[in-house]
Amino acid sequence: MRIVVLMKAVPDLVEEIELTADETGIDREFLKFVVSEWDAQALEEALLIKDAAGADVVAVGLASDPDIDQALYTALAKGADSAVKVTGGEETMLTGDRAALLAGYLAAEPADLVMTGVQAADDIDGQLPPMLAAHLGQPHVSVVVAVEAANGGVTVRQEFAGGLVHELAVQLPAVIGVQAARQAPRYAPITRIRQAMQAGGLREVTAAAATAAPAPTVRRMFRPEQASHAQMLTGSADDVATAIADLLRDRGLVKG
């Protein structure tokens, strides 16, 4: 089974996010980029399938994403069999453009199973898995918390609000949007990532994009109004602890 895991580089949310001067986009220049956490979950789940049933796991990213090489080498260090950088598109965070380009890649190098994160933090125009599946004409399931090979297809667990789970039998080829892997993503030692880098081996493939869905027009971006911002408690940890203890006592939530 050939499993393609799609990886997106997204701004690290711990960083201060700056807007572009015209305030219609994120200023990407000084941002730190990391692999979308749900894509890391998708990779882990793909590697679990490989461990259990055997699979050819291919990590795929867009060449135009910042720091994508690091992400793909890390995937190789974790156990992906190969890695591909897709060229042929401009740098874009729009899911519509990304899905169209990746559909072009997958038409040229088809997968039995595509796995990727259920969403990315910078999705504006929707999530990748269903868009890609619609281009490919394949079935898809999102918000998935387990994928296992079974009867020539896969069995997936799809999660709903409150933790209700539907187990579905899905024929291949298919696209799965992963919410969480069955176990926390494995750790790749830095030495192994370095080895992967030294070995090189990222393959570049130029893809011809499918016709993207129409995108919304960004009028402006802004930070949420701070009208209801928390009253900040300052001072030492001890001062803040005293203030919080008082707040709880005033409401009768703690004794003493």
């Binding site: 949310l13 209700l164 869905a213 930070r223 030492s236 709880l248």
Partner: protein, 320 residues
Amino acid sequence: MGGNVLVLAEHDGKQISDATYELLGAARDLAAALGGQAEVALFGPRDLASQLGGADVVVSVDHPALAEYLPEAYEQALTAVLAERSPRLVLMSTATAGLDLGAAAAVRWQAPLAAAVTKLEAAAGEIVATAQILGGKVLAELELPGERAIAAVVGGTYPAAAGQGAGTPEVVEVAPPAGLDRLRMSLVQVTEPPGGDVDITTADLLVSVGRGIESQDNVELVQELGDALGVPLSASRPVVDAGWLPKTRQVGKSGLKVKPKAYLAFGISGAPEHLEGMRDADLIIACNTDPGAPIFDVAHYGTTVDLFDLVPALTEKLGR
């Protein structure tokens, strides 16, 4: 049909979800502004139309494959309904069905989609959506031009009451597409969420921990505070996914909704999916070293003191 707004109904086979009523309330206002009517696409048991008195029209597709939510079956039914009804705007929630269907419909129906919407405005045929990105740190104002558009709306954005009318909508039946008889997926079984060791939804006070805690060992530190206060620990999703606390402790969209008298959040950023589960708490106190963390937009009190300093200090103050 030019200005109609169509809501995708969610249900469990018996009950229409609150999220559906939230969307229907919004649809009524938007349809009025666009000069159209509020329609609901109802897949599965047609008798649920009786719970949709807030709609002008219920568009029903009934077929055994639609009895329970199944992504491929719902997608086919939705495609058929969109072709037949040509609404100006489709509303879905950002729950599981919305995450499955919205972006697929954007391609199949060739319509722009706005994800994670927290505000919608319509005037003179123009639709503008405000959407959250980057874990709620940035909002984007999006124009949805053209004749058709899709918005996936964050749960809790609109009150459910506005969608719970007592009218008798016209029920329009759309023939089930033939593809429903040759689906490439099937429902094997439904598993209810695990029963609780403790019930965090009934606690007056919750001590909640997020990824800022860094490791399972460190959870112990917060557990000591919980023990000192005699209250259970709750958590954000990553803490549960990592296996540091059981699923029964998860607060948020895919966990539990809680409304304690006080909610203490340690190392939780306040992503939209987490806020959905706790923003109605009477008192929210958040500890996060990032002054720009979105949790501070819903918290009543906040501090950027390091949780590893604050938690032991609090345990000492409050311990009995």
